[in-house]
């Protein structure tokens, strides 16, 4: 506890300095008022060194406590998912490590009283990034170096994860389990031995879409619109590699820059609906809806059966025009409508540990309704895998995490939709899902799973490897190749896989 106390002291000093400064500023205008402001004049200058003596923290506490940190986003495009991310981690520790949820309406308040194999696990910090690498590293350093966490779950998004994996590489005696980031480079190219990812990458999440488009929908040609940055390319690469492997041809690739104000000039670059069999969309954030509107403006009304989007459409589906029902969506590693016991069990877990908590729209929504958000699920699975591996080593990380990291690499975790194991790059081998936008009875839109693709690995039959350039504007090229899962996808009807 003494650790905390000295920190509190330091913070009080800081706060006092700032308060004094703020108070003192009020006197600045009256040049001739030396009264109360006087003692503070030198304070700002000399305050600089003041906190330092108290910096001596007793960090050497051994491993009788495992310090856990979680890195998520609370600002930026994914800031709204902060509570869902934490809900996943907290629920996993409540369910599998005996933790008490601090506040069932506020996942970000964390948990207490967790222990694995008799060793207490304390949630010492929650990092708050904004989906940029810069901030993610700043927060990681704060969590690992200042607060002294041993293990971190996170980050949330692609570029963040590349930076964090690089950081991990430089800090081999700490352990990192990815939150829900999906950049391919993170595991395939950085290959940090202490960074583990139990979710698919952006390309894996789209596995099945190319096969489905070619062999079920009968597209021979497709145009791909992708955000012009690494996650956009990676996500599109999953479709392109598979569609081409199955014999399709990508005739047009269009790259609107991020934060494009007006998509009309980019929509105009696309072939007309009678010149191509289908379109694949990888436009996220503020661009998802405007890009579709620009398409309609340029090409006439939009036939949903001719369009497929990546997971960005899952985020936007609540705002789509009802006319989008029938279009297809690539996966996010989730399939809430599958009729599996593990799916309802996961819903029950979330319901057990949480009541209503803030959803991405800022409203209080029941935990059960948020249970199958991809963000929540991926953080949940990461935490569950970590707990399993910690159990495996008896909660002992005193060997510089060597045993824990070995155990994590061998962990197979039962996710809500199926088992997840890791390949030699510590990257998940997962099931993937193709989904379709459907209209619910009340007129709102939802997603229904139409195919399951079991056992998708990161390499796509060799389309991606550490020796090949990562996905980019020209990568991957369109080539026929043997993809193990082409033709092996399992159709799903009303939530029941038809194997």
């Amino acid at each position: 506890m003494s650790l905390r106390k000295s920190k509190v002291m330091r913070l009080v000093i800081m706060a006092a300095v700032i308060a004094l400064v703020a108070a003192a500023c009020g006197d600045d205008e009256e040049e001739a008022a030396p009264t109360t402001a006087a003692p503070t004049t030198a304070a700002p200058t000399t305050a600089a060194p003041e906190p330092e003596p108290e910096e001596m923290e007793e960090e050497m506490m051994g491993t009788e406590v495992i310090n856990l940190a979680v890195l998520s986003d609370c600002e930026g495009a994914f800031g709204g998912f902060h509570d869902q991310d934490l809900a996943g981690v907290v629920a996993a520790f409540a369910e599998f490590a005996g933790a008490t949820v601090t506040n069932p309406n506020k996942p970000t308040d964390g948990f207490t009283g967790a222990s694995v194999a008799g060793v207490p696990v304390e949630l010492v910090g929650i990092g708050c990034a904004d989906d940029t690498a810069d901030k993610a590293i700043e927060e990681t350093r704060r969590l690992m170096e200042q607060i002294g966490a041993d293990i971190m779950i996170g980050p949330l998004s692609g570029d963040e994860s590349i930076a964090v994996a690089n950081y991990a590489k430089d800090h081999p005696t700490q352990t990192f389990v990815n939150g829900t980031a999906g950049a391919m480079d993170t595991t395939m190219h950085v290959q940090a031995p202490n960074f583990f990812r139990f979710n698919g990458d952006g390309a894996q999440w789209n596995a099945g879409t190319g096969d489905y488009a070619k062999n079920v929908l009968g597209w021979d040609t497709a145009a791909v619109v992708m955000d012009d940055y690494s996650f956009g390319w990676t996500s599109a690469a999953g479709f392109i590699a598979e569609f081409c492997a199955a014999g399709g041809d990508v005739t047009s690739r269009v790259f609107p820059p991020l934060n494009t104000t007006d998509y009309s000039s980019f929509a105009a670059q696309l072939p007309d609906p009678d010149e191509v069999d289908g379109y694949f969309w990888v436009v996220g954030g503020t661009g998802t809806i405007p890009s579709l509107k620009a398409f309609e403006d340029a090409k006439g009304s939009l036939n949903p059966e001719q369009h497929m989007g990546n997971l960005f459409w899952e985020f936007a589906v609540g705002a789509f025009d009802p006319g989008m029902a029938g279009a297809y969506v690539g996966g996010f590693g989730t399939a809430a409508d599958l009729a599996l016991d593990s799916v309802s069990e996961h819903t029950a877990i979330m319901d057990r540990h949480f009541d209503d908590f803030p959803d991405p729209g800022g409203n209080m929504t029941p935990a059960a309704l948020q249970a199958h958000s991809g963000f929540l699920v991926n953080y949940f699975v990461a935490a569950k895998a970590l707990i399993q591996a910690l159990e495996e080593v008896g909660g002992d990380i005193s060997d510089d995490h060597q045993a824990l990291q070995a155990a994590l690499a061998d962990t197979t975790v039962e996710g809500p939709y199926g088992p997840i194991s890791l390949d030699s790059n510590r990257q998940a081998i997962v099931d993937s899902y193709v989904r379709q936008i459907v209209a619910n009875d009340d007129g709102s839109l939802g997603l229904a799973t139409v195919a399951v693709i079991p056992g998708v690995d990161q390499s796509f039959g060799g389309a991606f490897s550490p020796d090949i350039d990562p996905p980019g504007r020209e990568v991957p090229t369109c080539e026929v190749r043997d993809l193990p899962w082409i033709g092996n996808s399992v159709p799903v009807v009303d939530g029941v896989p038809q194997s």
């Binding site: 800031g79 998912f81 820059p257 503020t286 405007p290 403006d297």
Partner: protein, 335 residues
Amino acid sequence: MGLGIGLLLLALIAAWVLVLATGTPAGPLIHEPRDFLSTLLNALTIAGLYFIVAAGFTLVFGLMRVVNLAHGSFFLLGGYAALEFQRFMVGKSGNISSSEVSALRWLVPLALAAAVAGIIGLITQQVFLRWFQGQDMRETLITIAISVILADQMLTHFGGLAKDIRWPGVLDHFLIVFDFRYSVPRLFMLFTAIVVGVLLWLWLHKTRTGMVIRAGVDDTAMVQALGINVQVVFALAFLVGSALAGIGGVMGGSFASLAPGVDGQWLLNSIIVVIVGGMGSLVGAMAGSLLLGLVTAFAPAYLPADFTHYSVIFTFVLLAAVLAWRPYGLFGRPE
């Protein structure tokens, strides 16, 4: 000299668009006249939206020398207000089709957005800015602080996901002339911009208030000495300028979408427009919008296909070219 270089540059661009632009997404005008026409209309219509937003920005600056860096926040706030109210009127929390949106279900939210943005602007001016009149830089810093706070609060209340306002069903069609088709909502943006421009011009040039405002721009002290309450005029200008941001937010939210970060984008658009056109000038805002609209639409269409992602550089080229020629913008005056 400068003019000569400018004309040469324009001639080169014209030649490029006319015949040379093979291998670009649009193709040269002589082969692909339809692509040219739709690109030109795209430029004009987006310029309309630029103008609506930038007009408010430049109005506030022209009168009060305040660079309102919270203008983008007012844009986004107005948009969100309209979005929430439209959803309330339709009775759905999303997945709205434009066939469900009557003209009223778009216009009432529009009015509300203008009111909300206008009032927030007025509060900003009355509570924070009016005490520091004449201290331009301090006022500007205050608006930065307000934009930081508003952005964070909007993220809390409206979430991080992009949402959009629906155009009313009556607009959501195509205009078809012979076999050329163009989107009516986009033409409506241009139309609204013209209406806004004309109304602003009439207000500033044909009404007593407008004359006071213009006089206030030139010589605040003299206007005050004449017994006119300049404070009321300032408040009014800020109200109108911010309301225009709100109206822009509804147009922008209908044409594109609303999300965190959109505030910064539209602030930047407004800043570029007024830098190019000249701060405080309505005509300048018009010219600046037009030029920025042309760059926005033509750069991605007429750059060689492998280079369309370099189009952002052309915004910079536009800026540099104009500033090299006229350091205070096309229609601006030195402070």
